[in-house]
Symmetry: C2
Subunit: 167 residues, 2 copies
């Protein structure tokens, strides 16, 4: 299901093990400070999500869990873990892909904006206010109160534009 480009990292040569370690450490600390349980399953699911920078589907996670342990968990196991991670801001859901991705900054509640590369399928979470401001401005003109902005932009990332093997 994953193509070759799944081996590309979000920037060409970043140390992804560091991404994973940081994410897991942050998650552990955050759950501890919130007094919620970072159970084995939740940890495994988060690790799957952080395996790379591509949004991953619930059933793909299921496959991965089945590889690790001899027992094959059922869908609710994964969905419950994902719900927990979503609630605690540790992952985001990408609605347009029915997939999940690790959150870059779980410490403060937010709904990220994503740049999703059609080519390598990496998704980059944006940390800018420009888009939220624009959305709020546009919404205000309609008397609309924004609660959950969802921005998922499909296109072509810088790295894939360089390696012109696209389309």
């Amino acid at each position: 299901m994953q193509n070759l480009s799944s081996m590309h990292n979000i920037t060409e040569h970043h140390n992804h093990q560091r991404c994973i370690d940081d994410a897991m450490t942050r998650a552990k600390a955050l759950c501890h400070s919130r007094q919620v349980k970072f159970t084995r399953i939740r940890e495994q699911v988060l690790a799957c999500v952080w395996a790379n920078h591509q949004p991953v589907g619930a059933y793909t996670i299921l496959e991965e869990l089945a590889k690790d342990s001899s027992r094959r968990p059922a869908p609710p196991t994964v969905y419950r873990a994902l719900d927990f991670l979503l609630d605690n801001g540790l992952v985001h859901r990408i609605a347009s892909l029915n997939a999940f991705i690790g959150c870059q900054d779980p410490s403060h509640q937010h709904q990220g904006h994503f740049l999703i590369c059609r080519q390598c399928r990496n998704a980059t979470e944006l940390d800018t206010d420009i888009i939220n401001t624009a959305i709020n401005t546009a919404a205000k003109q309609h008397g609309f109160s924004v609660e959950v902005p969802c921005v998922e932009v499909v296109g072509c990332c810088a790295h894939c534009k360089e390696n012109r093997d696209n389309d």
Copy 2:
């Protein structure tokens, strides 16, 4: 499946029959000018989508078609009609709801931005560049080329804020 608020219109007292008539007229003219066929099924599906301003699911459309004619169409019938309507810009898909909504302006190709009211479930398509500009600006900073921006904002519309029966 629809709640009571489904009777609210997108603005409090707009003549929705006019919305429908306009949309159907536009669709007919547009298909004629493009020399593509606005068949009975496509027309029925578009009419379902325009029945109100709430995004409607494919299987809800299926139910509606079953009511009209004695024969019950199968899912591919509806999905094929929806694909046609999407291709021709007559409807948009709301990814976060797995649902479809009529396009306000099918004459030029665009991916709309939507304000979706959590309360009455109406979705308003925005016609502003503010958001696209912001997305392009943010994307540019990452060397990312935008192809399909998807903006689906959940919140509370002006009308529902007035009638404080929310939450």
